[in-house]
């Protein structure tokens, strides 16, 4: 067990001998070590979060043909720290009539729900918090806490806009959770396990080649879960000002904001884990766990960049279109994909890998083309309802 092949356990073993050397019982020593591990991980995440503020601002600036922060520190890297100081010394206003306990609890739960996701992220086979065998459901459970935080924030701040915004946001969140769960079932079917590490281990062929449509649906649903454009219901300024966090100021607002950014990055990471092989990259992961962790973080950053790309390119969709898109398109499609994937998997999983992959790809292509054909027919019918029957243009007229 050397430092390079298994850093976490090496450090843990060293600390165990140190602590038991001081006369602590073994269970207390392991508890303290686990606690330290969590503290280190959470601190790194918060640091990453601060860095993400800079990334987000820099990227949006480039998309909008601006420079972005570039005054404080090299390339403006110190800018987010200045932002934090600003948020800390802002006056903290609690609106009259607010339910103080719930009002203060909401941002805490909001950030906590995002941090909790990282307990199951496998950065490398040797660097992972816990290899929970119910990983996929755990993601949904953490998301449930986030939904709860939104309702608590809105109700406790005693503001009509906040409550309306939260209701819309929650309606969108719970709706898009359905296709999200359905496509999370697809990697589970393919890997035969819900554990994140097992799913990564099973991806000798990255699942994106077996279920490209599922990967697409996952990222669409994830963007909606994040409440980002084009599904940014809570920031429909022209209708409900700032949604559920309208009354929040200073650090509490900052916590919501930090949670949102880290959430986006985290879902980039889960996209990579579920569909793009996680910490694996053409055998590079065998070099060592730190390389694996770097691979996963790089993939997560690409996923995050993709989410930002969508956010700054596509306009907000109206809420009725958004919900219709979910219930009448994404949800049926996701369940059809699940059924077909399960069937093909059951028939062909023991045959040649090439045949298996090609069959999966073909199934996806057939479903995709069929859906496009159905959509074309439906929209033609809708158009004819408004414009009258379309007449074929005869030649020569």
């Amino acid at each position: 067990m050397s430092w390079w092949t298994d850093p976490v356990h090496t450090i843990a073993a060293w600390l165990t001998t140190l602590l038991t050397g001081w006369g602590l019982p073994a269970w207390l020593a392991s508890l303290i070590i686990q606690f330290l591990g969590v503290v280190v991980l959470v601190s790194l995440l918060m640091l990453l979060d601060i860095f993400l503020v800079w990334v987000e601002r820099k990227v949006v600036a480039r998309f909008q043909d601006r420079l972005g922060p570039n005054r404080v520190g090299p390339w403006g890297l110190i800018q987010p720290f200045a932002d934090i100081v600003k948020l800390l010394i802002k006056e903290d206003i609690t609106p009259a009539g607010a339910d103080r306990v719930i009002y203060n609890l909401a941002p805490i739960i909001s950030l906590m729900s995002v941090l909790l996701l990282w307990a199951i992220v496998p950065l490398a086979p040797q660097i992972l918090g816990v290899d929970l065998n119910v990983g996929a459901l755990y993601i949904i459970a953490a998301g449930a806490l986030g939904t709860l935080a939104i309702i608590m924030a809105a109700w406790s701040s005693n503001n009509k806009y906040a409550l309306i915004g939260a209701f819309r946001q929650v309606a969108v969140l719970v709706s898009f959770e359905v296709p999200m769960i359905a496509v999370m079932l697809i990697p589970t079917v393919l890997a035969g396990s819900m554990g994140m590490n097992a799913i990564v281990q099973a991806q000798n062929v990255p699942f994106v080649f077996l279920a490209p449509l599922a990967a697409l649906i996952f990222i669409i649903a994830a963007i909606a879960e994040l409440g980002r454009s084009p599904f940014d219901m809570n920031e429909a300024e022209s209708e409900i000002v700032a949604g559920f966090h309208i009354e929040y100021t200073g650090m509490k607002f900052g916590l919501f904001y930090a949670g949102e950014l880290l959430h986006a990055f985290t879902f980039g990471g889960f996209w990579a884990i579920l569909f793009f092989g996680g910490y694996r990259f053409f055998g590079l992961e065998t070099l060592g766990p730190l390389v694996s962790a770097a691979i996963l973080l790089a993939k997560a950053m690409v996923g995050y960049w993709f989410i930002m790309w969508v956010r700054y390119t596509v306009m907000r969709i109206r809420i009725d279109h958004m919900l219709a898109f979910n219930w009448k398109f994404l949800t049926p499609l996701a369940f059809v994909l699940l059924m077909v994937t399960a069937l093909v998997n059951a028939w062909l999983r023991n045959s040649n890998v090439l045949i298996y992959v090609l069959a999966m790809l073909a199934a996806n292509a057939v479903i995709g083309l069929g859906v496009l054909q159905i959509l074309r027919n439906v929209s033609r019918r809708d158009r004819e309802k408004v414009e009258g029957p379309s007449q074929p243009v005869a030649a020569g007229q």
Binding site: W27, I102, L132, N133, V134, L137, Y138, I140, A141, G143, A144, L145, T147, L148, I151, M152, W155, L163, F167, V170, V174, E177, M194
Partner: protein, 169 residues
């Protein structure tokens, strides 16, 4: 006392305390939020009992969906019954006696049973509860019929609730 016992006592106190608040709080939103605390405590209890899958399911279904539904329903039925009005029926002290009697009766019944103070066997290391559960759910000798009937039940609930909530007059 072992760590598990300490955790159990703390969780049990949280569960019972918040459950009492659920049935006595005037503000219904607060009652729903206290219900969430209770449900979370029960989820911790499942984790303590090595039923990790059920712990997560408890959070997903109860906190993620049922509690949200309750909060929506409270918001939708803005009614005469606001925080000031008495929230309990007139004979509530009778109900306390009834509940206490039920509790005493249950404990008395349990007491007379031989397995009351049983302790659990250790779960072997390679035991995958989720896969076992899946096998049990779809094997024809197991719970195949309840599995399919559950989906019919959910279908009936969906159709019924949509019909009831949406019957326009």
């Amino acid at each position: 006392m072992s760590l598990a016992q300490i955790v159990f006592l703390v969780v049990a106190a949280v569960i019972l305390g918040s459950a009492l608040l659920v049935v006595t709080t005037r503000n219904l939103i607060h009652a729903a939020l206290w219900l969430i605390v209770t449900l979370f405590g029960v989820a911790v209890l499942y984790a303590l009992l090595n039923a990790g899958f059920l712990a997560v399911v408890q959070v997903v279904i109860y906190i993620g969906a049922i509690a949200i539904l309750f909060i929506f329903a409270v918001m939708l039925t803005r009614a005469d019954l606001r925080d000031r009005a008495p929230q309990l029926n007139r004979g509530w002290w009778l109900n306390i006696i009834l509940a206490l009697l039920t509790f005493g009766g249950l404990i008395w019944l349990f007491q007379s049973w031989t397995g009351f103070s049983k302790t659990a066997a250790d779960i072997p290391a390679g035991f995958d509860a989720v896969a076992q559960l899946g096998n049990a759910l779809i094997s024809p000798t197991g719970y195949l019929l309840p599995f399919e009937v559950a989906s019919v039940l959910l279908l009936a609930a969906l159709v019924g609730a949509v019909y009831v909530a949406f019957s326009r007059k």
